[in-house]
């Protein structure tokens, strides 16, 4: 494999003003954008741009398991397929899946399974396909962010969204959200993802050298970054349903129905609904979780706001 332009890294990754290669402060996130419902066929889908990472995630399921023997009679299984496109990196990647992609698929599975009610889907599989179109460091974190959004878009009951972001160490300083070069030339990289309702880590890896004190700072940066991403994830979901509401309103106006209150329960009395037992149990658990974490879940958003104010 001969390439004319090799990948080179600058010697210093942080300048004398404490700014990073792309002008960011040490604890600053890269530009982040996300959207749901981007693929027409998938049951749920999401697109995430995190720095120059561009990632699509699509969800199918719950559906039949292939091959059959992988099915479990007591609960559903979650399968994640993380794949990098051949052209997403500097040197063309062979299209066949490698060991790295399999490992990352597994850790994303482990990061998202704790947000699903898999016991509701015995003998079935929920499958998430993640395709990295452009890679720019931290793809596993951005992929987890995208996969979690795709699950939400598929309408599956979730305990929480998961937001992923890495922290690291370059030139002896702790930083939030390593870019490609910082990732490759830095001294440490900590990819992480957080389940946002209770702020527990669901993905955590480490590669490099750090003191426990440095690790403490790094982890606090991760939490700050994840809260910012979480705010954009929820905004993306609201945006889609706001759009649907506007379209339905316009449609209703056209056919002359103007007095529809979208908050009305269209399904009638919930208690009289004929529901399979396990689904009913599952819904009760969602309700319980909601009431339990209601004061908690409102907290992160508030703190994101205060962070924004501080940065102003």
């Amino acid at each position: 494999m001969t390439l004319l332009i090799p990948e080179t890294y600058p010697k210093k990754l942080i300048d004398k003003n404490g700014k990073r290669l792309d002008g960011r402060a040490l604890d600053e996130l890269r530009p982040f954008k996300c959207k749901i419902g981007v693929l027409a066929n998938a049951h749920g889908s999401a697109y995430v741009e995190h720095g120059k990472n561009k990632i699509y995630a699509g969800v199918y399921g719950p559906r039949e398991v292939h091959p059959r023997h992988l099915a479990r009679p007591d609960k559903g299984i979650l399968r994640v397929y993380y794949r990098m496109s051949s052209f997403s990196v500097h040197e063309r990647k062979s299209p066949a899946p490698n060991r790295r992609e399999r490992e990352i698929s597994k850790i994303i599975e482990d990061a998202l399974a704790p947000t699903l009610f898999l016991e509701l889907y015995p003998n079935s599989a929920i499958e998430i396909f993640v395709q990295v179109i452009a890679a720019d460091g931290g793809t596993r974190c951005a992929s987890t962010t995208a996969a979690s959004l795709a699950l939400a878009d598929a309408g599956l009951p979730l305990k929480s969204l998961v937001a992923g972001v890495a922290a690291g160490k370059v030139d002896g300083k702790i930083i939030l959200d390593c870019g490609d070069i910082e990732d490759k030339a830095g001294q440490a990289d900590i990819p992480a993802a957080i389940r946002m309702t209770d702020e527990e880590y669901t993905l955590l890896q480490f590669d490099g050298e750090m003191t426990p004190e440095e690790l403490e700072t790094a982890i606090s940066y991760v939490k700050k970054g994840a809260r910012e991403i979480f705010a954009k994830q929820t905004a993306a979901i609201k945006e889609k349903f706001e759009r649907i509401r506007q379209e339905t309103d316009a449609e209703n106006k056209k056919i002359g129905k103007t007095d529809i209150n979208p908050d009305d329960d269209m399904l009638g009395d919930e208690d009289s609904m004929d529901m399979p037992l396990e689904l009913e149990k599952g819904l009760e658990r969602v309700k319980e979780d909601k009431t339990k974490s209601s004061d908690k879940s409102s907290k992160p958003e508030k703190e994101v706001n205060t962070l924004k104010e501080e940065s102003k």
Binding site: K54, A57, G58
Partner: protein
Amino acid sequence: MDTPQVISTVQKKYILDLLKKGKRIDGRQFLQFRDVKINADIIPKAEGSAEAYLGESFIITGIKYEIGAPFPDSPDEGVATCMTEFIPFASPMFESGPPDIEAVEVARVVDRGIRHGDCIQYKELCIVPGEHVYILFVDMYVMNYAGNLIDTGTISAMTALLSTKLPKAKMEDGKVVWDGKYMTIPINQIPLSITFGKIEDYIFIDPILDEELVMDGKLSFASNEKGQIVSMQKSGEATWSEEDVVKCSKIAVQKLNELRNTLNLRQYTPKL
């Protein structure tokens, strides 16, 4: 919302009844393409890239290169290879794993379109005859499958090739090195493709998924700006009469000229 995997005989009859009335299931005319949407240069680390939508069919193509040895039978020519990957989220019918025969067919047909008909000037991609040439990888990823991947793939691949910026090579002390400048891929003719679907005696272009699942077969043509046919592919069990082939080839050239003018793919060529 759910993509059909199996179409019932009722659905097939419905599509056929519509065709008999001169109508199609999505309201298009028999010889009408779906809307095309293109974005070029979307991937920073690819030398060239494009996403193309034909209706809801959606393919992203990236171009990568390496410097390697030419084929022994064409020592003074560069090489281009096409690959297609069906990403499983593109359709509930796709499974994870190596490309199946359908994916290989799409890649091969697009490949033939760009290989012949004065498209890429392979001789200009040669650095030292017999030793060093540019090898181009045209990798197509199917993001959403809504019928007619061959035509979607050709539009996506041609846009990506036209948007490509390659580092220019020179020889220094017997080694190939970068001379600090960039070049575009020399492309003389832009081939595009058109696919005819056939159900019983009805022939139409650009089949959508529902039609593709019930049709008897298809016939794809690629043609260049000179109005020449540069590749053909018949697939499926339908058989085609001599008159149909001749008639379709004429429609192909005319329709593709129209499409080429509308798309104006040269606008995606980068300024160096």
